[in-house]
């Protein structure tokens, strides 16, 4: 499974690189780096959203698309499925991963809690990009209570 490790290392370097050149530790500078990461994830998500569902038959409803994200997308990128998907049936979905591969190497517990959002920005963009190719405008945010478990909240925006 060398490819999983390759992506993890590349991702770690991306985050490190964006933060190393950031001489401005104020919230403004941080926000730019986060949005750069999200933008990268978005473009990758758009391409994946075209490539992955190629052989699957057409999606019937929103929930099918979210299930596709939790199963096929997560397996393709992180080699595991999402652990749980909850919804309030009104356009908000919470995807929970109990051992997120990009956080698993760091710590188990509350150490590094403030650093965790940097490592989730790319994945938030990825989810938003894939949803956008599949026709859903959304806002994705991530939250960490204790590493390596994290939750991605997807809010569908009705135009």
């Amino acid at each position: 499974m060398a490819d999983a490790a390759l992506f993890e290392f590349l991702h770690t370097e991306m985050v490190a690189e964006l933060w190393a050149h950031d001489p401005d530790p104020s919230p403004g500078g941080q926000k730019t780096s986060l949005s750069v990461l999200k933008g990268m994830g978005f473009r990758v998500g758009q391409a994946l959203g075209e490539r992955l569902p190629r052989e699957t038959l057409a999606f019937r409803e929103e929930l099918d698309i979210l299930k596709f994200l939790c199963k096929d997308l997560w397996v393709a990128v992180f080699q595991k499925q999402m652990d749980s998907l909850r919804t309030n049936h009104q356009g908000t979905y919470v995807l929970q991963d109990n051992s997120f591969p990009l956080l698993v190497r760091m710590a188990s517990g509350l150490q590094y809690l403030e650093e965790a959002p940097k490592f989730l920005a790319f994945t938030c963009g990825l989810l938003r990009g894939t949803l956008s190719t599949l026709g859903i405008k959304s806002l994705v945010t991530a939250s960490v209570a204790a590493l390596p478990a994290c939750k991605f909240q997807v809010v569908i925006q009705k135009a």
Binding site: Q46, A47, G49, E50, R54, T56, A58, F59, T133
Partner: protein, 144 residues
């Protein structure tokens, strides 16, 4: 073989449209435009019919006296429309399906190209060549 191939974005504007050079290329553009209505009709009809899962290939959209028009929709609501000469011995369904599959593969490759921004017109010599492959066996001379 196919006389016209079009890739249409989900907002219904053409991303790529190529036809065999004839005097009436505009006619093909009109045909593709009118076929969009038929595509929408089929998609919403299948959606309401509560079939378990909808197929991507839509089949024959409508026949005219000289041409037949076939359609295909991807999961990202990008539509492919192909206009075929009726005078050919009827092309079998699987041949049309395989042409669409190749088109879908080429389109996916275009999406994955880092120099391509989604939503732009597709200008790609490879795309021309791929279209020349399944669609042309000598009938399209503009593929590189």
């Amino acid at each position: 073989m196919a006389v016209c191939v079009a890739v249409i974005a989900k907002e219904n504007y053409p991303l790529y449209i190529r036809s065999v050079p004839t005097e009436s290329e505009l006619q093909f553009h009109y045909m593709v435009h009118t076929s969009l209505d038929v595509v929408d009709e089929k998609v919403s009809a299948m959606g309401k019919a509560l079939v378990d899962q909808r197929e991507l290939y839509l089949g024959l959209l409508y026949p005219t006296e000289d041409y037949k028009v076939y359609g295909y929709v991807t999961n990202s609501k990008v539509k492919f429309v192909m206009v075929v000469d009726s005078s050919n011995a009827a092309l079998r369904d699987n041949e049309i399906r395989s042409m669409f599959r190749k088109l879908h593969n080429s389109y996916t490759d275009v999406m994955c190209n880092p120099f391509y921004t989604p939503g732009d017109r597709i200008q790609s010599r490879c795309a021309c060549a791929c279209r020349g492959g399944p669609a042309g066996r000598g009938s399209c001379s503009e593929s590189k």
